[in-house]
Amino acid sequence: MFDSLTDRLGGIFDRLKKRGALSEADVGEAMREVRRALIEADVALDVVRSFTDRVRTRAVGAEVIKSVTPGQMVVKIVNDELVAMLGSDAKPIDLDAAPPVPVLMVGLQGSGKTTSTAKIAKRLTERGNRKVLMASLDTRRPAAMEQLATLGQQVGVATLPIMAGQSAVQIARRAMEAARLGGYDVVMLDTAGRVTLDEALMAEVAEVKAATNPHEVLLVADSLTGQDAVNTAKAFDGRVGLTGIVLTRADGDGRGGAALSMRAVTGKPIKLLGTGEKMDALEDFDPRRVAGRILGM
């Protein structure tokens, strides 16, 4: 992820750094190139626009004009703004609440919710030393519950026994009850994928949230997503109030614009990256390191 964005921006910055004095036209030209590179990296258009506006305003201002190396100054401004957009500190999953702590996983169909649920449960069990229960609230997708049960066996984490005929909300309540009785620390609630236009399903997930009061509500999103990332992030955040984002398929060669877009429109941190199909392919998201990588620094 991010590799080719790094290449594109790197080229633009190299040219900038070599310049002596910078005119407003030079800055404008560089910003047009940055705009193009970001759109080609799938950063949402409105996010690109406010980003380049902020950089342009600062770049034609006094701090650059007075600088002896104006090109480098502009590069620094881009860096600062990018870090600000990504958020500066890594934000791990927060379990600081009375157990059992519910964690709700939401997202579009096929984004990686079930896989990420099991990966997170494995990590909390092994590194966090927590007793975790996983439950699938997916009553729709064929074999969705079997998928989570199989993963639970693979990673050695308990899953709520499957009971036919219950609604998502009923399963969620049963999971919380079982967790209280069983002395679990964390309950991972995996939900069915849903498109945000599906009013009935959006209402269902809101009801699950109301019934369980989750401490974390994580949007699981594909890092290969294009411009739709903003619609998805806004719609889920508006409906269930996200606490963070898990970006999957970061092992792909996508340019990662969805990461920037989703963070920018929701203000919610990207907490984790999925980096493969295997159960240990999960990494913390460190915004500062990522910003550095995007800029090749």
Binding site: R36, I39, E40, A41, D42, A44, L45, L108, Q109, G110, S111, G112, R140, R141, P142, A143, A144, E146, Q147, L148, A149, T150, L151, Q154, V195, T196, L197, D198, D222, L224, T225, G226, Q227, D228, A229, N231, T232, A235, R249, D251, G252, D253, G254, R255, G257, A258, E277
Partner: protein, 280 residues
Amino acid sequence: FTKRQLDASTIEEFEDVLIRADLGVENAAHIGEILRLGLFNRNISGEEVREAVAGEIEAILTPVARPLQFEAAGKPFVLLMVGVNGSGKTTTIGKLASTLKAQGKKVVLAAGDTFRAAATEQLKVWAERTGASLVARGPGADAAGVAYDGIEKARAEGADVLIVDTAGRLQNRAELMAELEKIVRVIKKQDPSAPHAVVLTLDATVGQNALAQVEAFQRVAGVTGLVMTKLDGTARGGILVAIAAKYRLPIHLIGVGEGIDDLQPFAARDFARAIVGLES
């Protein structure tokens, strides 16, 4: 509608609409340029510009809008379904099996995803729903071996169509693409004319990476056509326009939901109009 002279800012607004639909900067600029050349300074309403943009997109898509045809010299017709993780392969197979059954065809499904948890169980549900037969080996089995079994079984049953499901894989993962190459090789060994169709599923939410997906899956597996899934969501799937312009691969079908009937022929006009927000 009030007419006014088509100016630079109106054209830019339309370019933005296209970028937001994932057509990419280059294709948006290209269509903007056509508007500039053809309509600039003409008195024209916003609605007429919208129609003109839809017309340009439709012109790009029309040559690639082609149905998926299940015709081969012998039996079975072998269809291999490929694509990145979660793009809708297995579900689309279920929907296709249902369509074929309705046409009175005998269908075998091969559970070639031996990796993902419960992938076989998922396909099995679709086989039961559609009355297709299922061929499977256990988890972790050789996927190419399952495809081999599929051909044997389809021949033995005198089936018309064999559809082979595969595990999702990102196109930059060399070891997984090599596995796919092997599946194709094993199928060819059984029947040199097969696979008769290699269909790549693309998720409507995908951005510019879809171009790389098409390129790699075509090179490794010889993709013959595309299906775009999840068009019932907010994503417009405009990357198909960029793909049509660059690769000219047939686009067969669109997925518009998770249900068995949520599969429709790809219609260039409707798709183009939806991108610019016009009713079909």
